[in-house]
Symmetry: C2
Subunit: 331 residues, 2 copies
């Protein structure tokens, strides 16, 4: 039996805590806000982020970070990218050094342009590190809908350990050693999901979205390969798989942001009405900055950037994308 | 101005005939049934297969195959795979030899296991040959929804000629020289679409479908590469792009067949209620036969085959897929 701590009481963190418990681990779920943790404790339900799912009685809940980390063999990090550095800075205890840390955080840090596992590695230097990503809407995993994800580590045996920790009849875990690719896939897909949302908001159909998914994946892979990732990772669960789910799910926050942009709302208007963070809004800036740094073309990310930050209209951006000089599929 | 003949008055053939006309070509649309062609002629609408779209006045309509082929510079073949050989056998005129033939037929001939362009090539020996595929629901293209497709030919200038023939502001055509990959992508995706439909019929969600899409693409590419296709084609418009559209479209016939299987209907019951052919039903048999011939693993195609032809229940097949030994993503 492993002692596992999950950091982050959002939908995905809560779902993974339940799953880890069902796999026979002793699990603690940490959340930043004492009063919300108290609510989880009394209701045995995460009403805001994973409604309708009962939290098992033996799931420990705490808002005390040091306590959460104490004695954990495995720490699963499920904190929104925006708050990751802040939380880790609060507790750079020596405890981390003997832990296996699994990051499920999706994003690229603005300015530093670091991947989330790089941020974790730099701040807390865990003994072992893995990243987990893939098409996994928490709402569905928690209901036992068949799901497949990928876990990557530079050390194959670490990926295999995480695989053993989490695999169930309904949750299939594949392994990979391409940390960069798995992490970038999970982050960059949110940018393309915003583009797909824009297409939805403009009233376009499945053809447009499929074209955005296919061409979006080409530019995600182009950047990834320039950054040292393996091309085929982008065509696996953490790239294509996650991208497809996000682009077609009515529940995706990133797709929804795009849809509202497509209907003519501004970023400011959209953000005022949102409870949870849409990672893609920040990742778009990071993606465009990385594309420039590595000298690769990312026309769809650039287009989303223009709509989000430069004030271009959604119509103009789509017309622009469609009217680029016709070319060969792979150049 | 080119003289173009489209063979096949289904939704896609009709849509392409309209598009070719809008691009300034002189277009003839051929259909097999004189009485249905007469209906198109009088109503100026293809009520059965492309309702709500007006046929332009200068679109010529005929059920006379020799007349349709006479003087055509370009012949676009949009006949269901099941009837392709029969129609071509009816008219192996010398006319073909001076034509550029573009196939949009999706399938793999049972028994011969030939691709559709191979069937065409063998029977009518056209001067030049190209294949066109990609995420292009006729209903949407006809309404001007932005769409991107790919056209492949062994001769680059032929692909470019077709690109010029069809490109509009709303219909973007990419070129490729991977005929085998583009054609296999368009055919094999229908098998995976049936699998996605099964998942829908069982009440599963986006996670399951994304996993089927990602893993389905891996096995499509595995067979394709064994047959001489270029891996990356499967991750472009004609593979991934078309697959995504088909798997998530409520209008896809192949996905619908799967959905009914997932709800417990048999193939026989389903086929009794269908007007148009669902290509994937036949392609599944061809795909499994090809997988055996080339010695590659295609677990999803095998699973669909068991549900369609061996009488396994959908639940059993899904349980089987999910419980395979956990493994690395790319082996």
């Amino acid at each position: 039996m492993r002692r596992v701590t999950v950091l982050g009481d959002g939908g995905w963190g809560t779902c993974l805590a339940i799953l880890l418990g069902a796999c026979g681990n002793r699990v603690t779920l940490w959340g930043a806000f004492e009063d919300y943790i108290e609510e989880l404790r009394s209701k045995r339900e995460n009403v805001k982020f994973l409604p309708g799912i009962r939290l098992p009685d033996d799931l420990e809940l705490t808002a005390d970070l040091s306590q959460a980390l104490e004695e954990a063999d495995v720490v699963l990090v499920a904190i929104p990218s925006l708050y990751l550095r802040e939380v880790l800075n609060r507790c750079r205890s020596a405890e981390w050094k003997k832990s296996l840390v699994v990051s499920v955080v999706k994003g690229i840090e603005p300015d530093s342009l670091m991947r989330m596992s790089e941020v974790i590695q730099t701040l807390v230097e865990p003994k072992q590190m893995a990243v987990l990503s893939g098409p996994s809407i928490a709402y569905e995993v928690a209901r036992g809908i068949p799901t497949a994800v990928v876990v990557a580590s530079f050390q194959p045996q670490v990926a295999e350990e995480v695989q053993r920790l989490l695999t169930t009849e309904r949750f299939r875990v594949y392994t990979s050693c391409d940390v960069v690719g798995v992490e970038l896939g999970g982050a960059l897909k949110n940018v393309i999901a915003i583009a797909c949302g824009v297409a939805d908001g403009l009233g376009f159909g499945a053809n447009t979205k499929a074209a955005l998914v296919a061409r979006g994946l080409v530019e995600m892979a182009r950047l990834g390969v320039a950054m040292g990732a393996d091309l085929k990772t982008f065509y696996g669960l953490s790239g294509l798989g996650d991208l497809v789910t996000t682009c077609f799910s009515p529940h995706s926050r990133n797709r929804s942001v795009g849809e509202k942009l497509g209907r003519g709302m501004t970023l400011h208007q959209i953000q005022c009405g949102m409870e949870q963070v849409a990672e893609g809004v920040t990742t778009t800036r990071s993606a465009v900055a990385l594309a420039r740094r590595y000298g690769v073309e990312m026309p769809i990310a650039e287009a989303v950037h223009r709509v989000l930050y430069v004030g271009w209209s959604a119509e103009k951006v789509v017309a622009d994308l469609m009217l680029r000089t016709p070319k060969s599929e792979w150049v």
